[in-house]
Structure formats: C-alpha cells, structure tokens
Symmetry: D2
Subunit: 356 residues, 4 copies
C-alpha cells in the first residue's frame, strides 16, 4: 500500500531533487508532476538524470485533478504560487501538503507580510502550518495537514544556534551569521551573473546586510526556548555565493562575557543532537576533512554541526554544514513527511555523503 | 542471511566508494576493511562521509583472518599487491574475489607482462579470472571465483565500441579514442600536479599516445565478436585530464568507407544495449543535457552511449559517459558481484544520477 | 601620436577582453565603445573589472560618428551585424576594420553561405578581407583594410595541423579533431545549460559531428600549402564543453601509412614555428604541466603546440592549446592589428600565462 | 639603468608570481632565482607559464653570491628560512630586502615569539623592518632597507577595517572576521586535503577560532590610529577554504551602539582610500558583480573595499576582496618596493582584473 503523491513545480532544482528522492521512497509513489512552462514535455527534458521516468510528462497543476489522484502534495513553487495553491489543495481534502516555499513559514502575519509582501496567503492555512524542522517540531508534525518546510539558510543557522540553549551561563545578545552557499541555491532560472563563466571562483557578498531567512531563524530559536520571545536575539546575517554546486555553510559568531571553554561548547552541541538521525556533531580534529564541510555531505540529508571557542577574543563559533538540495530543501521536506506519517525519518534518504 | 565481505585497500577513492555502496547493499555485509597506511585508525579518518561506520577501524590485510571472517573480498589495491594477495585468498577458500586492480584483466600472459611488468601474477589465478563486464560476460560471471573488474577507460571505450558489431557493412580498421577524465581517476595519493590550484581548469593530454587500457579494450572487442581475433583493430587512445571530480567520457572516432546514416548508428547502439539495466542509449536532441555527459550520471552506475555520424567526413562518432567511481570502478565491481550471485544487478546501486 | 579606436559590441566577453587589452596598448587609444543593449550605461555595468574606465559609457554604433572619431574599429558582434556594419565603416574611410565575427573569414561565397546563411555580406568587402592569422598571412596583413579574425577552434586546429607541411613523406587523407572548450567560448548570453550549477564538471559533446570552423581550417591549410586545394583533407571535428572558464585544446588525430618517429614530429612542429612570438613548441616531458595545456596560458596570447606519435597504432597526434579569449579571440585580433601597422606584434599582449 | 634583483624561494606560488611580475617591470631585472629543492633545474620545471625564462635555472641561495650580483632581494621562503637569511643579506650590503614571509612583520618580540616560535630572528633586522602596506606606511617605506610584506589575510582585513577610523561616533570594541580563501593560499606543497578531488567545492573552516594574521591586523590598526594601543580591539578571525584558485575575501562584522546609516559607512570607505591606486571603493548596487568579489580582480593588484550597514541589527559590515597572489602577496611586495624607490607604485602591476 503506497501513497500517491504530487510534486508541484517539478521542473526546478528542488522539484527535480524531490522527484529523484521519491523515486527511491518505499511508501510514496510519484503520481503527478507539474511544471508551468514544461506542460506536455517529458520529465527528462528538465531532468536528464531521471532516466527511469523518461515516459512521464509534466502536467498542469489542476487542484481537482491533483486531489483526485493524490493524497499528498509537495509544493516546490515560488511563494506567491504556493500561497494561492496550498489552500485549494487542503480544501479538496489532501491528507497533507508539504510547502517548500516560504509562504507558510512565518507564523506572525505582520512579519510574513513585511518579508514576503508578494505572497498574499490564506490565514486559515497559515494557522494549521507546522514548521517542518523535525529536530525541533517532531511531535507537532505527526498527522499535521500542512508542513512549512524550512529555508536552506534558516535550517543551517537554526541548527548551528540550537546548542546555545544547552550552554549554561551564556546569554546571547547579538549574533552575526556569515553564510556561504553554492549555485543550486540560486534556482534554475538563467541569469547573467549565474553563468558558469562569471559564477566560477566567486566569493560574492550578494546579501551583505540582511536575508529573508533571519525572521525564520528567530522564530525557531524562540520556539526551541533558546532565546526568549520578548527579548529576541539581535541577529544579523550576511550571505555569500561561493563556487560549489551544492552546499551551504552557516557560521554563527557571538562574543560572550563569561569565559567558557571549548569542551563545554562541544558538549552542548553533542547534547543537543544526540539521537538525531540527520545531525552529526563534528569536532574531531583528525583525518581528512575533520571539520564541518558541506563537501563531504553531498547527496546526504545530514547536517554537520561544530562548536568552537576562540579564547583570545572570548568568541563563540558555531558552524553548520549541509547539502542545500537535501537537508536544506528536498531532503528536509521528505524527512518531515516521514515524521508526519510516523515512518522511519530516513526512508528514501541517505545519511552518507558522496565524497570525493 | 547476509554474506560477510572484506574490502582490501579501503582507504583509497575506489575502496571508499565500494565501502559506501556496500553499506547500502541488501545482502553483503561489511566485515573487514584494510588499508596498509591506516592500520588501527578509524575509517572516518580517510572517509569522513561514512559517518555510520565511525566505530570501524582499518585492519591489516591478513589472508587467514580475511578467509576466517569473510566469504567474499573486493581488492582495491595496486596491481602488484593484488597479484600477490588474490591467489592467497582463493587458496584459503573464499567463495569469490573481485579484483579492481588490473592484475588479472588481460588473459594473455605475454600481453599482461608487456603492460604490467611489475605485477608478477599466478597463472593459475589468472586462468580462472572472468573479466567483469556484465554487458559482455554476464553468463560467465555466474558462480565464478575470480572477477577481474575492468578499468574505467576500458569500460567506457568498450561500451562505446560494442555497437559497431551491429552496424552492417561497416568494417572498422582504425579507431582513435579521445578520453577525458576527472581527478578521482588519478587516485588519492598527493601529487604536485594534482593539487587543486594546478588541477583546476586543466585540459591536459597526460597520455597523448598510449594508455594501458588499450589491450583491455582490444581483448573485449574480440570477446564480443566486434573485431576478429586474428586481425584486431588498429586502436589508438589519447587520455586527457579535465576539471571534474567524477566523470569519464570516451569518444571513439573512425572513418568509414561506405556511406551510412546516423539513424543506422543510433539503431545499432539501441539494439546493442536494449534490456541492459545500466546502459542508456542517449541520442535525443532535446532538453537540458541531451547528449552523453558524465555530469548527469554522478552517483549512478549508469553508462550513457551515443552514436553519431558525420556525413561530411564519413566519420563515425561513438561516445560513452560514466561516473568513473561507479560504472568505471566500484559500481561495476558490485554489479558484477551481483551478477555472480544471480541477484538483481542493481542491488545497492543507483540508476539515477545526481544533477545538478 | 596614438590612433583612436572603436570597439563595436563591447559588452560581450570578447569585446570586454579587447577593451582590457587596448587599455594597455601603447599606440591604440580607446575612443568609442558600443553595445546595443547597454547604450547609456557605464562600461563597468558589463565589465566590473575595468575600473579605470568607470567614467566611460556605451554608445550606439553609428557609422558616421565612429568614422568621425576613429581610424580603426574592432567589431565583436554577431556575424549578421558585422556583415551589415563593416562595409559601412570601410566606405566612411576607416583605415582598418578588424572583424572578430565569422562574417568575412571564408573567401568562397558558396562556402560562406552554406555555413553562415544568416550573414548576408557585401562581396566587395569580403574580397579585400585578409584572414588574420599572422603565422600564415603576416605579409598580407601589412596595410590591409579589413582583417577577418579567425575563430578560436580554427586557430588552434590550424596551428596544430600546420606542422604536417614539414613532415616529409606523410600524406594526410583523413583527420579527426577533438576540441575541448571552456565556458567563455559560449558567449555571455544567459542560457539554461550555461548556468554554473549545470555547467560545472561537464564533459559535453555539444557538437559531436560537425562545427562551423571546419571550412575555416580547410581554407587555412590550403593557403599554407599543407594540403592541396584540389584534394582537400577529409576533416571532421567534434567539439566538447569542459569545465574551465578560459581555455581551448584542439587535438588532431591521423593514422599514417609509413612509419615515422616522434622525433620527426617534434622537429616538424619546431621548424614550423621557430621565430614565432606567440607559438611555443611544447614537447618536454618534465616538470609541472609538461604538455600543452591551456591552463598555463590563461591571460597570455601564446599558443602551445605539441606533436606526438603513437607507434603502436601508427597514429599522429597534434595538440594545440590556447586561451580562447586571447590567441583564440581578442588577443589574436590585436596581434593582427599590430602586424597590420608593422608594430611589434606583442604590443599590448602578454606572452606569459598566469599560473596557477 | 636597471636594478638587478634576486628572488629567493622562487619555486613556490608566490615566488613564481613575483618572477612573472618582475619580468614585466621596467626597472628591476631578474638576476638570481633560488629554490632549495630545484637547484640546477630549469625555471620552467616549476613554472611552465614563464616560457621566456626557459633558459634560466634555479641556483642555491648563497648570500655572498646574491650580494655580489644583486642590489635587491625578494625573499619568498618560510619564516624560519627568512629569519636566518635576511640579516645575512643586509650585512652583505643589499640596498633593500623585501621579506614576504612573516618573519619580520610583528614588531613586538614577545608577540612575534608567541605566534612564530620557530622563526628565531635577529632583533637588529626586525628593528629596521618597515611593514609594507603602502596605504598605511608609504612614507616610512622610502629608502628603507627591510620591508616586511604583509600577509594576505592581514592585508584584506586591515584594509577592510581602516575606514572605521573615519566613522565619527563609532567606537569599536569587538570585531569578528570571516575570511574566505582560494587554494593558492595554502602553498604549493602537495597534501591530501589539497588534492583537486577533495578540495573542489569545499567550504571548510580550517581555522575556525584563530589565525596568525590577527596580531598583524591589530598592529596595523594601532599604527593607523584606528584603535588605541592601550585598549586594542577584541578581534577574532575565522578562516575558510573555498573553491577558487586565486582570491581572498575578508568580511569584518561589528555591532555598533549608536545608529548610523549606510551612507556614512560608504563615505568613510571612500574618504579613507581616495587617491589610492590600488584600493577601490565598491558600493554600487548595479551591473554584473556590483559588490566586492575577488573573482573580478584576478591578475590585478587592486583591493576592493565595501562598507555596509545592517540597520535591523545595528551591525557594521566591512568587506575587502583581493587576489591573494597579488595585493595579498607578490603584487603587494612589488608595490612596496616601487614605493621604496619613489617610482610609480603601479610599475609592473595591473590595476584591472581579468574577468571572466
């Protein structure tokens, strides 16, 4: 008994990755694939790697047809499209919709409208959405009807900062985040600066002072009890494009007042994530690639988190690495869907990266 | 009931990839991992991606211990080491040894010694070796005791040229092969020219006139009946290093006397490989990446083969693409082992690449 | 006394490179820069590296204005645009026009129209064009009015094959060329397959059986006396995209009947190019990067040529490497312009690459 | 009248780049090239790009011979070797020694010994050293005998932070620096983690909590009056390896108490560097690559500095980009040598990068 699923927006990078993962999932079955600009074309026109689906074609995203044929839908479109479509799918009775867009991530309507003014959403849908970070919201995901799958920067940054909750005596007041991302993070739409000749070898501060994922991280840290709701962290993020196809590294820095030692930091990271299937504490200082590096995680749903302490400057350094297409995107969405159904969270997902 | 296996030479690139694949195999169970220069160290010192094996350590390659604990051994060492070790493993009763080195690939002793003078081998072992290209030798692999797993260039070039056997009226006399390879093909040993700063962006003819895999291709083409044993093809190969981590593209060119058309060539490719799990005929001229390209095969055991015809110059162009770590290395070895046991050849292997 | 020049089509990759070179030229002075889609915008919008030109803006390509302000024009547009514009510039009295497009390269009108049907050109202009490969046409360039600057693949392939003219006793009948190119070779226009995420790590046979530069090479080989006009070489080219920003490697293969030795081949290469400023014979088998590789030529106008002989297969291997933006494009155009004026051909050009 | 110079340690990346630059310098003349492990070998064995020096060979670093033949020496060795050699060269009467190693950068002996315990140096030599950052020490460089050329991270970070001195009302107390570097920054010695297969696509925190260049930056900021000597900045640096051959981006973050606006920050950057040949204020938000990015500076001696302000978090963001081989290494050394002699600082150096 398998559950028929739809992938809405299946021609993009995340949609393609989700399709690849679902192909190997033991319980979900690909039934409906949509892509506005590819309707009628074979799936392999957009994803030449998905050869075993060479007889499948992209269809239109018709809510009635989707509801008629599927029980679950993954939505990998832009926020405005998702904001419009998700309520229609829920009204037509789908068991669960997993929204990979940012349309339903921010619970506060005011905050949502400030950051996503173009994504006019249905408050009723937003009200039932559960933020899909299993490491924080696992229990709430069980049997929920709408999963708001986290952003890639938000996932890495939230996971990097969660251990602060286990660091006794450390009160954070200001955190700066320097996040580095590969080119799949910019989507599949052709742009002048995204061309290989120009994008190769860059170290480019494309968002030096602010990023849409900041309020998402803040909301998660409050949810997890890491920072109080009434005095949230002063949180700044700067985002950089670097030369990698997949991969995201989020590096959070905070000066602390009381002296701590690195062992405490490592222990806090370890305590926070022990038992987690997809988060590894990486603090070993030996071997090839001893520190968190998305390079060794390519193809896996794992996030590596490392905690360090700069004694000279009394500075806390928390680093999280992941594959933005997996734990930062399609893999995370599938993990949350697995959690929603009470299955093994690793169904259809790999814990081991491909390296080199 | 699983079969305990050893990976000999598990610290290199191929050994690590094999270990990763075996971790996901339904019937083989990793029991013994060796690496001369890592004895006693955790596996993750060499392969930080294989986190779920973080409690495993490299051991010495002791034939008695291997035979005592394992039924099958994959040997991913240099040819001289494999030439010495394989007979010892067979004598101690292992069910099957899969040799990824070139030590047992060439059946003719004279040819072997010409190309691998440093790999003094046991003729008795060589005599029972089956060349592990399932697309040619599937039946002989069943229940064999020694599999000589093909080289990466040889696999791609042989698969590119096999369709010539289905091209009526075309008699090849001379073929030139231009083969392009990524950096994992050069092994894990640090070298000056292999450093990132020097190896990035290269197009380097590192073997412009000859390559050790040429006699291997010739032997395979004779075995497959593509070329007669008594008048073998005049076959030249030039090998190039290009900027990719994984990937190999072999391009075979031949001028033909009688005019043919491209449809015939495509049909020959299709006829040669229809029904094959891991060879795709790629001749579509549509969509993203419409032609054979190892880029779309990263992580998969698939080989793409495309056949083209240059009518202006009466020139046949046959191209094969693969991931050198998989169909060109560890994946091929596992596929052959699956075939040897009569299992699904795809057990533990992926047919879909990771792209982008 | 400097000569004021125009760069027509200055927003593309070649136009930008030409502008960069002219900035350092001792006698030419940048006066007029055009780009259809950037009119009125600062030059640095397209070329952020050309900081010292930050006060210059792109203008419209008005022939009268260009003729009024400039004595020389470099045209780096598409062939149809160049075909229309060049005669207008010549009629208005420019001393010399250097056309980097293919509009005036092929002398034979029939051949031109077969390969460039969209570039309807003025036969009178075509009749005065000199093919701008100084190593072949140096004398004819002196004081000419129109230089048809060679294509990148044609330059490398012609230079690779010229030494055949010095190989006594070798009569070529069929040559296959395998040419590998970096991403700047595809131009600056955004495309789906040119995006970094998809173009990184490729080995892609984008033109497996034919290429527009084939007739150009054929014409050059006849001009140079390497092959007779009445029995031209059977010449096939296959073109590949590989992962490099700059760089082109052309590899020409030919089976020969009479046995020769590699020393003869090296000597032929050396004899062909001795005295040439921008062609190096590379046959040393020592040190880092001992063979022709565009990687070591980045930023230089040099072409490396190497000749090899595969004794086993009686196969001649001729390889030429260059930076497609320089000796394969803007550098070549400037070298020819220098030759046209009788200046040092290296004016404004570098002979040394940047490596690593 | 040219000045004969020596390059000591000419086989490494910086030594090779310096050699390439000196080849194009109007007044310095390459006379003596040394490299311990290459004595007697042609220069092109290590630097195949420097073809016009193919007749030159590496010699031993004999102080008498160097002093006999040269007036100036550039020392591009490790710190211990430089610490021993530099005093010998000065004693033998060289006009000027430019030390690219860290042996003479830190004036305070205690600080020097803490960070470079293996570089036992002559205090007399250290006492005459001038720190070779022309943007800060231009006057002191005139006629000095020993130039301590800055480190790559120190150069970028110091230049990023200098504008703070022009920011009225901003008192910095704590700064965190996130610095990203390409692979040439790790030197030419082969290592396991530096191999292309492992180094491609990394985002690796190789020095997460501390870096040897921190005390260098602190010293420079005190020298420049940006921070008081008795209450130096709390300064933490984290260093990352990313996938680029050349390039370094230093990103400095500081939370500020009083609200400022971005215009003030931009103005401070502009005021700090106006008139500087090799520092560009980059704050334009238009065109391709509108923000500081080492990618557009490849091959140039320019450093781009950008200042930004995150109003939400009251966070100052200062970013500096450079080519680590040029403004971060060999170019900087040559610029300082030019300044020492009162020549145009740009002699032999390019202000324009090569892009793409």
């Amino acid at each position: 008994v398998t559950i028929p699923v739809a992938v809405i927006g299946a021609s993009g990078f995340l949609g393609g990755e989700l399709t690849r993962l679902l192909l190997g999932h033991p319980r979900f079955e690909l039934e409906y694939l949509t892509a506005e600009s590819f309707v009628g074309q074979p799936l392999t026109d957009a994803h030449p790697n998905l050869w075993s689906l060479r007889d499948r074609r992209f269809e239109v995203a018709d809510p009635d047809a989707i509801a008629g044929r599927c029980a679950v839908a993954f939505v990998a479109t832009s926020a405005p499209v998702a904001a419009a479509l998700v309520p229609q799918l829920l009204q037509r009775g789908l068991e669960c919709v997993i929204d990979l867009s940012p349309a339903h991530r921010l619970r506060d309507e005011v905050v949502h409208h400030k950051w996503y003014p173009d994504a006019e959403r249905d408050p009723a849908a937003a009200a039932v959405a559960v933020y899909g970070l299993p490491e924080v919201n696992r229990e709430m995901l069980r049997s929920c009807r709408l999963i708001a799958s986290p952003g890639c920067f938000a996932t890495a940054t939230s996971l990097a900062l969660l251990p602060v909750g286990k660091l006794d005596g450390v009160a954070l007041s200001a955190v700066t985040v320097d996040a580095k991302s590969g080119s799949t993070g910019s989507g599949s739409h052709p742009t002048a600066s995204g061309m290989h000749a120009r994008r190769t070898g860059v170290m480019s501060p494309y968002a030096p002072t602010t990023h849409r994922h900041v309020p998402e991280v803040r909301q998660t840290l409050v949810d997890a009890g890491v920072t109080p709701a009434d005095a949230p962290l002063r949180l700044g993020m700067s985002a950089y494009a670097v030369d990698a196809v997949r991969g995201l590294l989020s590096c959070a820095y905070a000066f602390v007042d009381d002296s701590i030692d690195e062992t405490q930091v490592r222990r806090a990271v370890y305590q926070t994530f022990k038992g987690e299937r997809f988060v590894r504490t990486v603090s070993a200082q030996r071997g090839i690639a001893p520190l968190p590096d998305p390079r060794v995680l390519v193809g896996s749903n794992t996030c590596q988190v490392g905690g360090f302490y700069d004694a000279d400057a009394q500075r806390l350094v928390l680093v999280a690495a992941l594959d933005n297409m997996l734990k930062g995107g399609a893999g995370q969405a599938l993990q949350a869907a697995n959690a929603r159904y009470g299955w093994d969270e690793a169904d259809g997902l790999s814990t081991e990266g491909m390296y080199p």
